[in-house]
């Protein structure tokens, strides 16, 4: 609909390029930034994630067609990529590029929000369990044991079975509420070591109450594992969402998500591979990029990797 769509798309890619180059230029001035960009895929990861985020934000301006509406079921079914439809059209004659971009809004935000929820709960539970120890710790960690013992996909399918058309908010809640167990274990282990550190004892000696000490002295010092597990977790959550949507349990059609796009195109894989290839490629690219960023963050922030003269 808007003639400038290709130009704006390229503009978004260019901005992403500039942003990631600038980030690298500034980053390598600091020791941890240098460690971050030493990871071979770190720069590429930042660039890809920025690109997709920008395109998702600019979705109405970088696409020409509505994502969920069939255009011409006779003339435009399963058309290969062309100038007007750069990634082709799918079996319902919808523009694959439009669906991919609008789908990225869904996939990225479900991934980010669910991970945010999971990491927040995990960090709080882990910090409280590790700091308070004793009975509170035992109860919380047994809950975590149960959560880790039950396969997550069953929990998800159970919840899905209760709703015919799962609202997106609920999908985020379910994925988030079943994803914090690992993080809480990680944070608890860090906090157990941290609580014996002298500055925590010093904070108690001043008369700080447990809530204040956890918020001010404990959590800021375990941000590193939290941030790393969040960065690595988004990729996993996106894969989970794609898997669920592929099975028909996640994001409900006609709302596009990368998972249900693959499901829609799966039957035409031999005749119209573009309707599955591109969302598949998008998932692979973004998840790989997020994992690379997570890995690089761990390299950069993990104090056990600090060398003399750094920091």
């Amino acid at each position: 609909m808007i003639a400038g769509a290709p130009v704006i798309s390229l503009g978004a890619v260019a901005i992403a390029l500039l942003v990631s180059l600038e980030a690298q230029r500034r980053g390598i001035r600091r020791a941890w930034g240098r460690r971050f960009f030493q990871h071979p895929l770190a720069w590429f990861g930042i660039f890809m994630v920025t690109t997709f985020v920008l395109l998702a934000i600019a979705a109405p301006w970088v696409t020409r067609y509505p994502p969920s509406q069939p255009l011409d079921i006779i003339a435009l079914q399963n058309r290969p990529p062309s100038l007007l439809h750069p990634l082709g059209t799918d079996v319902y004659s919808r523009d694959v590029w439009s669906r991919l971009i609008y789908g990225s809004r869904v996939s990225l935000s479900v991934g980010a929000l669910a991970m945010l929820l999971a990491v927040t709960i995990g960090a709080l539970v882990g910090a409280v369990a590790g700091y308070m120890r004793g009975g509170i710790d035992a109860v919380l960690m047994r809950i975590v044991d149960v959560g880790l013992a039950v396969p997550r996909i069953y929990l998800l399918l159970l919840a899905v079975a209760l709703w015919e058309h799962l609202p997106l908010v609920l999908l985020v809640l379910i994925i988030g509420l079943t994803g914090w167990f690992g993080t809480s274990r990680l944070v608890r282990a860090e906090v157990l070591a941290l609580r014996e550190r002298e500055f925590v004892v010093a904070a108690r000696a001043i008369g700080g109450e447990p809530g204040r000490i956890i918020a001010r002295h404990v959590i800021p010092n375990v941000l590193t594992p939290i941030v790393v597990s969040a960065a690595l977790g988004i990729g996993n959550v996106m894969l989970l969402e794609a898997g669920l949507s592929f099975l028909g349990f996640g994001v409900q059609p006609p709302t596009p998500s990368w998972g249900n796009m693959i499901a829609d195109g799966a039957a035409q894989l031999a005749t119209a591979p573009w309707s599955t290839l591109f969302p598949g490629l998008a998932i692979a690219l973004v998840v790989t990029s997020l994992n690379a960023v997570g890995d690089a963050l761990r390299d950069a922030l993990d104090p056990r990797r600090y060398r003399v003269g750094d920091a």
């Binding site: 014996e196 550190r197 002298e198 500055f199 004892v201 010093a202 904070a203 108690r204 000696a205 001043i206 008369g207 700080g208 109450e209 204040r212 001010r216 002295h217 800021p220 010092n221 920091a311």
Partner: protein, 343 residues
């Protein structure tokens, strides 16, 4: 002398060891008094229970594995600190009794600016606004002799030297004007020249603010300079208490004697330094009888068989007759055996 500000009676802090097969009796029946405005030295080798005693006073011993036994009493201004609820205890910590730790680098949170940490106690106890707390923090940093406090208040701990950080810790402890300051080896981690400055600072602040100071140290030089009265600890027990002058002039317990003989002296540089043979035994198995007997130069059968009580002695020559001198040694009953020293 007036009423003690803090009196500790029969304090026992035990630790259950890792595999649960032993009990470390780190502090085992310690009693002492702290009077308003005085400096009390808590002296002894590493592993004799000084730090655990200090941590027990504010109930900062990690529980588990630590445990303060029933029957211990820590009386502060008429209240037993061991009977307080967690909330009441927090109101005492930092506001009434404050503490300075050994390692200034480890005792400050690396992710916060020092100003935020110094002001924390004022915000917790006096419910000051951020702005008022900051003004007070500046005042405190000035008081503890930090140059250019307006700039340093926004520094992170890693940007300051150890001596500066210990000044920051002192400012942090004193911001609410506590009546008791416990300083746990405040100079051990510092350079010698800085040590003297910190000790001087503590002395000056104590005089200015009129608080009582418990100075935990193994440095008898520091004791001689600053401390009014000394409690010597060995193997979880108090073995001797005396005014500093009496202690240095005439130690009663062989352990104190050994400690004093192991200090290098400028006025007699050719004298060989005498150490105390052996080392402090593990807290899981204190020796039977007198706990010092395996290392003592005067040991006889009685020391192996029975542990001496804390004898009280008021000598005519004692300067402050108001304080009782005490020592836990059979030599006080059988002074003739002092001549029978065997190396």
């Amino acid at each position: 002398m007036n009423e003690p500000l803090l009196s500790v009676r029969d304090l026992k802090t035990y630790f259950v060891t890792e595999r649960g097969e032993g009990i470390a009796r780190a502090v085992d029946g310690v009693s002492f008094d702290l009077y308003p405005g005085e400096t009390l030295g808590l002296v002894g080798e590493s592993g004799c229970g000084k730090t655990v005693t200090a941590l027990s006073l504010l109930r900062l011993v990690p529980e588990p594995p630590g445990h303060i036994l029933a029957g211990s009493v820590i009386q502060y201004e008429g209240r037993d600190l061991l009977g307080l609820t967690p909330g009441e205890l927090r109101a005492v910590r930092g506001a009434e009794i404050a503490m300075v730790f050994q390692e200034p680098h480890a005792s400050l949170n690396p992710v916060f600016r020092i100003g935020d940490q110094v002001s924390e106690a004022a915000i917790v106890h006096q419910r000051l606004s951020r702005r008022a707390a900051r003004a007070k923090t500046l005042e405190m940093l000035e008081l503890v002799g930090i140059p250019d406090p307006a700039r340093r208040i926004d520094a992170y701990p890693h940007q300051l030297s150890g001596g500066m950080l210990q000044r920051v810790m002192i400012a942090m402890a004193l911001i609410c004007h506590p009546k008791v300051l416990i300083a746990d080896e405040p100079t051990t981690a510092l350079d010698v020249t800085i040590q003297a400055q910190i000790v001087e600072l503590l002395e000056r602040l104590q005089a200015e603010l009129g608080m009582a100071l418990i100075l935990i140290t193994h440095d008898l030089g520091v004791v001689a300079d600053t401390v009014d009265r000394v409690v010597v600890m060995y193997a979880g027990r108090v073995v001797e208490t005396a005014t500093t002058r009496d202690l240095f002039a005439h130690p009663l317990h062989p352990y104190t004697e050994g400690l004093l003989r192991s200090v290098p002296r400028l006025d007699d540089p050719r004298r060989r330094l005498a150490g105390i043979r052996g080392q402090v035994p593990a807290a899981t198995g204190w020796p039977a009888g007198c706990r010092f007997h395996p290392r003592c130069a005067y040991t006889w059968e009685r020391c192996v068989a029975d542990e001496p009580p804390l004898f009280e002695r008021r000598e005519p020559g004692t300067r402050d007759a108001g304080y009782a001198r005490t020592a836990r040694c059979w030599l006080l009953e059988e002074p003739g055996r002092r001549d029978d020293r065997h190396e």
